[in-house]
Symmetry: C2
Subunit: 209 residues, 2 copies
């Protein structure tokens, strides 16, 4: 048994996802038509609809494997809530993006449309809420947990898309450090703990290029 069933199916799906990501980088998601994908992938119309309900279903399937990966990474660090860094999930996100640069460039860059962005947002917000909740409960912060999660999630994804659109000019650890420098002081203040963002040494140069 060759993994994953029929070879034709694998070929079809691979060609389609590659065609889609290519086209997104060239023209942006919104401007792409199903026929464009078909032509680029050299796949028949009826074949496409045998696999995916529409363009968006294909897009999400491109993101599905990645999403599972990321969710695993995030869940892995949730149980043992690290008390010293409630913003820790950010590292997982940046590392994940760096590991899959090409797809992120297509799905989360300025061309990617907002569908994938929305899913990422949900995922990250949930993880952040998990990490912040225990600290917030103890501190009696006046800021609603929802609002905090929203703020730090948006900031994280803002930095992420900036990083992606710049073409990953730094290593993931460096970007995570930047994020931490901006986010941690506020988090520390909210949960009544002194920020350690400044007591730590500036990060060693983990960037490439």
């Amino acid at each position: 048994m060759t993994e994953g069933g029929d070879r034709r199916v694998r070929r079809t799906r691979r060609n389609l996802t590659e065609a889609l990501t290519d086209l997104i980088l060239e023209r942006g998601y919104e401007a792409i038509t199903v026929q464009d994908i078909l032509d680029r992938a050299d796949i028949g119309r009826s074949t496409f609809y045998a696999h995916f309900r529409d363009k968006e279903a294909l897009l999400l399937s491109c993101f599905d494997d990645l999403r599972d990966d990321l969710r695993r990474d995030l869940d892995a660090m949730t149980p043992g809530v690290e008390p010293h860094d409630p913003g820790q999930p950010s590292i997982a996100v940046f590392a994940h993006a760096y590991r899959h640069r090409r797809v992120y460039r297509a799905l989360c860059g300025r061309h990617g449309g907002n569908i994938v962005y929305g899913h990422l947002h949900t995922l990250v917000a949930h993880a952040l809420r998990m990490h912040l909740a225990p600290h917030l409960a103890a501190s009696g912060s006046p800021i609603p947990a929802e609002a905090m999660a929203e703020f730090y999630t948006s900031g994280l994804l803002g930095i992420l898309t900036w990083w992606v659109n710049q073409g990953f000019p730094h290593g993931p650890a460096h970007v995570a450090q930047m994020y931490g420098a901006m986010a941690n002081p506020g988090i520390a203040a909210a949960i009544g703990r002194p920020s350690d963002a400044e007591t730590r040494p500036t990060i060693s140069n983990a960037s490439r290029h």
Copy 2:
């Protein structure tokens, strides 16, 4: 002279923009068809295209007046750079949103699509950059100004959409205070100035409802 020219034109544009915002709140921007707008506004097809190139042009025209307003507010505070609060533009944004609750609910809520969001983002990012630049230049912060502007803009808009989607549960000053509590410590750390977010008294209750 009655302000703004022909009464028919005013009627048409008013009906169209009202129909659009109504429909956005009901079904979301993406799901709306030009025909839907026409039916709701009771306007002929050719009339619509005499005024707007397409659905998106109408959407932007809904936001245009607001945008000019907001830009004026933001520019008004840029010249006399207030050294004590580089995050000051946030107040203008929240106040502006509160003043135009209904439109913001349609354009910046979860139903509004990302077009308006993108324009808002550009506007706010620019204002924040202006306010941060002088402080950053002096402090020699290792974080690129672009990245900082991106982070705090995303965070601000994140809080804004959260606030909008909740139905404006607090007054604008209260939300601005929440934003400041999360953003200011990080900004203060970056520009080498102690945060004053905690030395200030907790804001007086400016919320309604």
